[in-house]
């Protein structure tokens, strides 16, 4: 079975197709706004949640080849609802909606895709936080080495040998993995 016809919206996000992104907002922003306003949020919360949801979907489409097996609307609503429930928890409010109810409301396909996205984006958030813990040198080395440029050029720029750069890159990556694993272990306790 091929992807749903709404896959074009995911392609639009990856390609920054302004016309189709406008269509996403025109068609789906009213439902997101309605949900947020009915659940202790305001207009700007709705704007934030929709924007963050679309960025998360962009990441999954770009890096993990996300294939929509359902229409975009229920999937987007589920992603947004999960985000809003987490936000309410952070603010110390008790969410009215229960997540497992959503799956029955919107279908198993949308529920499964939203679950996978939430897990992956949570890992990405942990990664971003732990990356900031690395020293400046490690951050520089990882960012430069992963930019796609020739590592020989990067070694010359940093005034180190190519062999040192490769070793240091592995060392920095191992440290980062150590940090993220520690962070997840602490969160799961």
């Amino acid at each position: 079975m091929g992807p749903h016809e709404d896959q074009r919206y995911l392609v639009a996000l990856v390609q920054n197709d302004v016309k189709l992104v406008d269509e996403i907002y025109r068609l789906f922003s009213p439902a997101i706004r309605r949900y947020i306003l009915q659940n202790q949020g305001d207009e700007m919360d709705a704007a934030d949640i929709l924007q963050e949801s679309l960025i998360d979907i962009y990441h999954q489409a770009k890096f993990r080849g996300l294939q929509l097996t359902c229409p975009l609307e229920p999937f987007l609503l589920l992603v947004a609802r999960r985000k809003w429930i987490n936000e309410l928890k952070k603010r110390g409010h008790k969410p009215v909606t229960k997540l497992h109810d959503d799956v029955y409301d919107y279908g198993e396909d949308a529920g499964l895709l939203a679950e996978q996205l939430a897990n992956q984006e949570e890992k990405a958030r942990i990664l971003a936080r732990q990356f900031a813990r690395l020293g400046e040198k490690c951050r520089q080395i990882l960012q430069r080495c992963l930019s796609g440029r020739r590592q020989e050029d990067i070694a010359a720029e940093l005034g180190v040998s190519y062999a040192y750069l490769r070793k240091k890159k592995s060392n920095c990556m191992a440290t980062l993995i150590e940090y993220v694993e520690e962070s997840r272990a602490t969160a799961n306790k």
Binding site: D42, E43, Q51, I55, A124, E136, L142, L146, G148, S170
Partner: protein, 245 residues
Amino acid sequence: MANFDREHIVRYLEDDLAPEERTAFEGELQRDPALAAETQRCREWRELIQQRIPYDEGRAQLEETLSGMREKYFDPAAGSVKGKVRTLRIYGSIVAAAVLITFFVRYFGEGERAMDKLGQVDMVTSTARGLQTDSLLGPAAAHFNAGQFADAARILDEALNSDSSNQLARFYRGVARWRLGETEGARADLRAVYAGRSLLQYDAAFFLALSYATEKNKAAALEWLQRIPHDAPVAPKARELSKLL
């Protein structure tokens, strides 16, 4: 699990082991399920690191589009604190509403003033930074620091025409453009500085965050603030802005 640390596993994944080390490691992988599981975890994290750590131009462009859509489809005055104040004025006591409005106007006025203060920066010339001197940057700094941003931007245009790789000139032109209300041009400059990984990389991220914060686009502002490491020189200002949001 066999005695291989994470760095060794990463070096295996990076194809950075000597042939004999690689053979030994792969032999152990076959025998040791715990090592195989650990290697798989590292492989998944490494993939995520490769995807999320480098600067993503596509994401930056999409964020720009989403910001435009946000302005088109969401009304900051509707349903927000200011909107609630307006509703109170209509349905509640006029006196009570007037008090609330005064309070919120003062509150938001202070927020905006605080953001304006955070956006104040002096242009430091290349000489002071110990970099190669550039005859155009001195006059640009004089105008910039006197608040004459149009003149500063014009001179910085010239500097960039003669050397488009000058990150110092591009950063201050971005700030000058932002001060002049030329938001799109400002963000283009600041993004280029951020992508360039220069000394001003995180200062550029901060001003990008500030440009979104002043438009009340909290999501985009926080996205940029999150890219600033806690030990960057601009981190204290980033924390202050984060609190204001």
